[in-house]
């Protein structure tokens, strides 16, 4: 009976986007433009701010009654930290907000901002975790006893015994250097005050409802007086999930000056002061038995979380996710871990597609390769012995892995890869001084998790569920208003496919309404690979309710038993007969002839869905050619075998994988945010922060398994982040494989030519 789910129909989003008819925040005209004056020093005391004569310059002193951003975590081991919208007395990183100036155009505002004189007494900054943890380190936030903002620790009861009985212990220390998940559209906000006192904030957001709540709370205004609109949004990757203090300031300015105010972030600001991520050092030690089975795992996670805590996830998101998910797809029973988040004088770290999993997967996959070498096994063989194969599986941290295909997916990737042939070629190539390598990464991806998972983290704001309001109008078209907030994921298409099948109409008759707090029910937006599973689940439930209602009305109109009504292709039919009525006619009658039916008038259904979560899984295999003279890495071939359950739209799924893998390769080889020892940021242009282009990303070979899990009512698992999670480990394992003849090892990403060069030199000496 499925008609639309599983088909690669073209995205409804694209005709406007590819014709340049998208509607973006920066397209809106504004009366005034704001430019933010940012700190040029990493740590300092603001002595005086001197604006040019006649300018409008807002500083902290002007923000009377405005609250600081202070996300909360209900855990004894978490220290909440405050971020004033504009620096109160201290600046804590290069890019910290100091003042806001207004101009008639963006260029005018920038001219004025250039003339604001800042008198700041510079202090010694702490830039990395070792110096932040030093005994005599200055504290980034006065009042904290040290720079540790979260400290989580656990040890399973049998860990020590398993450790003692192990055949051998394998160590692996990985370093994930700081990243920024660059959206093609940087952040932007436009706030328009109207004479009723209401403000409409149009902004690049992934969570419009929560932005409204957060800004209303900060500014102490009624939430009803603020409308938040996320129009077309050019990518987010997490950066537009967390609350930008700039957005709250733009709303404040619009109310203060009773006008429209715009801010369009430039790339320099984005690289400097939008959220960073992935600044992690993870040490793992694996205790293996004589059969190379991982019997106990110890982890130590150190996260440099930057100067402030992002709302709503807090500064604990990266260390705590590493802590909870480190064992990955492996069936290890005993686990000990210490995870710490450390504040420093750097830009705040926040979720970026994959969050800490690219790093923890790198740690586990490097560990497996090192252990394989120690046991004299092939990398695929040690994984066969350790992957979870019995489902459901409960991890040592209490996560429940639903039905999946960790082993089968890896075997699928291996069949495609034909490693036997590759390894022969590798030997031949070495004779010609060409160094080829292959790297495997297997992982599972926790997706589509509802409020129980967030509640377990102790988040003061506990996201998770999604609601949809579904209405069939008198013309027979369906409007689905969702709380999710897609910004490139194609939900207008995939949700329409789900609804179309459940109702019995074509997807072209379904409109998905999102990204407007006036038009959509409260919801959590789009992040954490959740929207298709959760919002899609809610859509399915509501569409099934609508289906039931349509059948009831049709049964009266067709004078047949309700159970005999079939809805398909826009037609209601009495099964096995030629008695039919168009669904559009049922819709018309439900409104204009409601008196005929014992129903509430109209066709509106509401449903919510709040699942526990579901794990998709994948294996990535990278083939690289390392030029040991220039230390350049070329990816020759890249295979992805993915199991994300039911594919709603395979084309969109493959697009998600391609984009994710591209960002994963970027992580593995190119992108890095660099600060110097004084705290200055060195990577503020895309000539310094190297995003890969089409030249650097190889064609991907993508294969699917579709294991259906009852953890997702639509049968689909999330996969929005998987590409970023597996690719770095696959590429790093491949580089290490290529460098084996030199005895060189590299466990830091990005694996830049400089790091490869250093690794080769270290191996030589």
């Amino acid at each position: 009976m499925t008609t639309w789910v599983g088909r690669s129909i073209r995205r409804f989003e694209d005709p406007a986007l590819v014709r340049g008819q998208g509607r973006f925040t920066a397209d809106l005209p504004a009366a005034r433009w704001v430019r933010f004056v940012r700190s040029p020093v990493a740590s300092g005391l603001v002595e005086r701010i001197t604006p040019p004569a006649g300018s409008v310059c807002i500083t902290h002193a002007d923000l009377v009654g405005v609250r600081p951003i202070k996300p909360m975590l209900d855990r004894f081991d978490y220290v909440p930290i405050e971020q004033p919208l504009l620096a109160k007395a201290c600046v804590r990183y290069v890019g910290d907000l100091v003042a806001a100036v207004l101009g008639t155009t963006a260029a005018d505002a920038e001219d004025i901002a250039d003339q604001v004189l800042l008198d700041i007494t510079a202090l010694q900054p702490v830039m990395d975790t070792p110096s932040a943890l030093a005994e005599d380190a200055p504290v980034v936030h006065a009042g904290m006893s040290d720079n540790i903002v979260v400290r989580a620790q656990m040890c399973t009861p049998g860990h020590a015994q398993a450790w003692a009985a192990a055949d051998r212990i394998i160590d692996c220390d990985i370093r994930s250097h700081r990243q920024s998940g660059q959206p093609i559209e940087a952040r932007a906000a436009h706030a328009a005050w109207d004479s009723s006192g209401r403000v409409t904030l149009t902004c690049t957001a992934q969570m419009p409802h929560l932005m409204r709540t957060a800004i209303a709370d900060l500014l102490d205004m009624p939430e009803a007086d603020l409308r938040v609109v996320a129009p077309d949004v050019g990518g987010g990757f997490g950066q537009k999930m967390s609350l930008a203090p700039e957005y709250a300031l733009v709303v404040w300015l619009a109310r203060k000056f009773r006008t429209s105010i715009a801010w369009v972030e430039d790339r320099r600001e984005n690289l400097m002061a939008s959220f960073h991520s992935r600044d992690l050092a993870i040490s793992v030690q694996g205790a293996f038995d004589a059969q190379a089975r991982l019997v106990a795992l110890s982890g130590d996670v150190l996260a440099n979380v930057g100067a402030y805590a992002p709302y709503p996830n807090t500064a604990a998101v990266e260390p705590l996710m590493s802590f909870a998910e480190l064992p990955g797809p492996y069936a290890v029973a005993e686990y000990a871990c210490l995870a710490r988040g450390v504040v420093t004088n750097t830009c705040a770290s926040a979720p970026y597609r994959g969050v800490s999993r690219p790093a923890l997967t790198l740690a586990m996959e490097r560990l497996m390769d090192k252990a394989a070498r120690s046991f004299g096994l092939l990398p695929e063989e040690i994984r066969r012995r350790n992957l979870v194969q019995q489902f459901p599986h409960t991890s040592p941290t209490g996560l429940i892995y639903d039905t999946a295909s960790y082993r089968e997916t890896m075997e699928l990737a291996l069949r495609v890869a034909d490693l036997t042939r590759f390894r022969q070629r590798q030997v031949t190539a070495r004779v010609e001084k060409r160094y080829l390598g292959v790297g495997i990464a297997t992982f599972c991806e926790r997706t589509g998790y509802g409020s129980p998972a967030f509640a377990a983290r102790g988040m003061g704001v506990t996201p998770g569920w999604e609601t949809v309001q579904l209405a069939m109008d008198p013309s027979g078209f369906v409007e689905a208003r969702i709380g999710a907030s897609p910004h490139g994921q194609g939900l207008r298409t995939t949700l329409a496919q789900i609804i179309a099948d459940a109702v019995g109409i074509v997807p072209e008759r379904v409109r998905i309404i999102h990204g407007d707090t006036d038009r959509t029910p409260y919801g959590w937006g789009t992040f954490a690979s959740r929207s298709l599973v959760i919002s899609g689940g809610a859509c399915l439930i509501a569409a099934q309710q609508l289906h039931t209602r349509l059948c009831r009305v049709a049964s009266i109109m067709l004078e047949a038993a309700e159970a005999d009504i079939e809805l398909r292709d826009g037609i209601a039919r009495v099964a096995g007969t030629d008695r039919t009525i168009a669904i559009a006619d049922i819709a018309r009658a439900s409104y204009h002839g409601a008196h005929r039916f014992a129903e509430s008038p109209g066709l509106q259904e509401t449903a919510s869905y709040d699942p526990l979560g579901t794990f998709s899984n994948a294996t990535h295999i990278a083939f690289v050619d390392v030029d040991v003279e220039t230390c350049a890495v070329r990816i020759e071939r890249f295979i992805v075998a993915e199991d994300a359950g039911r594919l709603i739209n395979p084309m969109i799924v493959d697009g998600q994988i391609r984009g994710g893998v591209a960002q994963g390769i970027a992580n593995a080889l190119y992108e890095e945010i660099v600060y110097d020892e004084h705290g200055d940021i060195l990577t503020t242009t895309l000539a310094d922060f190297l995003m890969p282009t089409a030249h650097e990303i190889p064609p991907l070979e993508i294969h699917h398994l579709e294991t259906l899990s009852d953890a997702s009512i639509i049968g689909a698992k999330g996969l929005g982040e998987g590409g970023t999670i597996g690719a770095p480990a696959a590429v790093l394992n491949a580089i290490n494989d290529a460098l084996q003849p030199f005895g060189a090892e590299l466990d830091a990403m990005p694996a830049t030519p400089l790091r490869i060069h250093d690794a080769l030199r270290a191996a030589r000496t």
């Binding site: 220039t630 282009t693 060069h757 030199r761």
Partner: protein
């Protein structure tokens, strides 16, 4: 990332451009040709010229020509103009090879050969070609025209022998005779990125041995340069891999590489060694 304000002057002739430059150069007037380096610098406010003298509409500056055995490249010839051979023979072939390393197609469509020379970015390709071939830079100021030899033109990172009030009007490159060989190699992080090492080799083979060897490097030191001492190692010898390795080592040893966060001096030296050897090999291909 909005430029600070400036006045845009469109000029119709080189004389007008030079006059405008004489008037405005002291207060920050600059020539605008393709703008592919200047305009981004203005967006970053690293450059804040108060006057831009736009030479794009001056007739006759957009086509290279052969004149008295020299390829003359006027001020508005775009990089993209070199995708096809500008002249038949080895020089046109070499320029068509080099141009494919310059940034990306949209930048090549706008950016100019002479602009790249005047900008004097140490990682740019055309300056290496200019010094390898001992080309000539023609500069015009209110006082008249002068010719600056390539070896005297580049003085430091983005610093040249051009006076503030002078406009670079054209570049002259000696044409190559049939039988001339070139080999070019550069290393960059991504396709189209700023080069981290560039080598351009050229010679003729006569009676099985290398004659009139030229070897120029770029992207490694603040300015590109020819390496006569190393060229001497090539002259009179039959081309072979052992010789090229020896020459590449010699090149790597005779430079003082720049350092930046992406490339240590040691890595840059190794990059130059590899690009040099590959450029020499390509000259044989």
């Amino acid at each position: 990332m909005k430029p600070s304000s400036f006045t845009h002057h469109e000029v119709g002739s080189i004389d007008e451009a030079v006059a405008a430059l004489a008037r405005f150069s002291a207060e920050g007037g600059r020539i605008l040709a393709g703008g592919q380096s200047l305009v981004p610098m203005m967006a970053f406010r690293l450059a804040q010229p108060t006057h831009l003298i736009d030479i794009n509409r001056i007739p006759g500056l957009d086509r290279p020509r052969l004149e008295a055995g020299e390829l003359v490249i006027p001020a508005c010839v775009r990089h993209a103009g070199f995708h096809q051979q500008v002249i038949p023979g080895p020089l046109g072939d070499m320029l068509a090879t080099v141009v494919r390393h310059i940034a990306h197609v949209p930048i090549r469509n706008r950016g100019t050969f002479c602009g790249s020379i005047a900008h004097a970015d140490p990682s740019a390709e055309w300056p290496v070609v200019l010094v390898a071939l001992d080309g000539v830079v023609v500069a015009r100021g209110v006082a008249g025209t002068r010719e600056i030899p390539a070896a005297a033109f580049f003085q430091g990172i983005m610093t040249t022998a051009l006076a503030e009030h002078e406009m670079l009007t054209e570049i002259r490159l000696p044409n190559a005779a049939a039988g001339q060989r070139y080999g070019f190699c550069e290393h960059a992080r991504r396709a189209g990125d700023y080069a981290q090492a560039i080598a351009l080799a050229g010679w003729r083979i006569s009676e099985g041995v290398i004659r009139q060897a030229r070897l120029a490097i770029g992207g490694v030191e603040p300015t590109p340069r020819r390496l006569p001492a190393v060229e001497a190692l090539l002259d009179g010898h039959a081309p072979n891999d052992a010789l090229f390795s020896e020459v590449a080592d010699a090149v790597a040893h005779c430079v003082t590489p720049m350092e930046d966060p992406q490339v240590s001096a040691s890595l840059r030296r190794d990059l130059l060694r590899a690009t040099t050897r590959r450029a020499l090999q390509r000259a044989c291909a």
